[in-house]
Subunit: 193 residues, 2 copies
Amino acid sequence: MKFCSACGQSVAQKVPAGDNRPRYCCDSCGAIHYENPRLVVGTVPVLGRQVLLCKRAIEPRYGYWTLPAGFMENGEAVSEGAARETLEEAGAVVDIGALFSVLDVPHVHQVHVFYLAQMRSADLDPGEETLEARLFDEADIPWDELSFATVKTTLRWFFEDRAAGRLPEPAAAGQAPSGFSPHQKAMLPPQRR
Amino acid sequence: MKFCSACGQSVAQKVPAGDNRPRYCCDSCGAIHYENPRLVVGTVPVLGRQVLLCKRAIEPRYGYWTLPAGFMENGEAVSEGAARETLEEAGAVVDIGALFSVLDVPHVHQVHVFYLAQMRSADLDPGEETLEARLFDEADIPWDELSFATVKTTLRWFFEDRAAGRLPEPAAAGQAPSGFSPHQKAMLPPQRR
C-alpha cells in the first residue's frame, strides 16, 4: 500500500495513538488503513461414499485438485459463502452440514474454513476456475496432486473420522447437524437506536 | 474507496473479467481492490462459576459490557487473536478451550468467533479500551447493558449449555478440548517449490 484510498495522498507505516502495531496511515486526511486476515470458505462435498474435488484452472496451483473453496464475500454468511463457492466452482448444489475444519494460514493472512456438505445429486457444471470436477472414492484421491495443505489436512481428517465412525450425521431438514459443531447464527441488522 | 492504494489514481466500481460482482478497479495500473469480511475474535473467559466482562471505553457502544474481542490481526491464528484480545482488553491470561460460537454479521461485513477460555487467575489489568473488567455470576450479568447482539447470544448459549451440562470439559494440558469443536490447526509456511 502506497497511497490513501480515501484521498489519494501518500501513506506511511506508523503506530497510531492507542494502538500497538504499525498501520498504513495518511497524514493528509488522517485515515488509518487496517489490514486483516481473509476467510477462505469451502466444503467437503459428499455423495454416498464419494467426495467431490475440482481441478484448478487458475493460479496458484493450476492443474492441482482442490476442495471447492474461495474468498468469503461481503454480505454473506460463512456457510452461504461455502455453498456459493461449491456451486460456482463445481456446479454442485449442496446442503451444508457441520463446520468441520478451521485452519490458520498466518503466513498468507488467511483462515480456511470447511463445512461438511451433502450433494443433492451427481450433477456437475464446472465454472471458469475449474478444469474438471469429479467424484472420488477414497482409494482414488490424488494425494500427491492436491492444491493446498489445508485441503490435504481436511481430507485426511474426513477419512479418518469416517473410518472411526466419528462423522456427524447429515442434519434433517431445518435441524442443526449432530456432532462437533460450535453454535452458529447469522445476525440480522439491529434496529436503529 | 476513491483512489488506488497501489498507484494513487482514481478507481471505479466494475465487474472484472471472469468475476461476477463489482470491485474497485484501477484503470491506470490494473489493480483490483477486493473487500472481504473481517474476523472479530474473542473469548468467554471463565473462572470457576464466573464469567469475565469488560466495560467498553471506546465507541461504538461506549460504557456497555462486552466479552473481550477484537479484530484478528495478520500473522496470528484465530485462537491466538482471541487470547491476545483477552489479554489486551482485560489483562486476563487464559487457556483457550473449545471453539464455541461463529456468528455472521453480514450487514457490517464481519464474522464474530468466540472460544471458551479458562482464566489462570482472577488477576485483571484493563487496557485502554476498557473502563472496567469484572467477573460476574450468572445472576448478575447486565443483560440490558451488553454491547452487541453477538455477545448477548454467545452468553445466552453459554449459560444454557452450562445449565444443561453440555459444556465441553476444559482440556488437559496439550490436549484438544472435548465436545463440540471442529478440527483446528495452524499451518506452517510451505517449503519453496
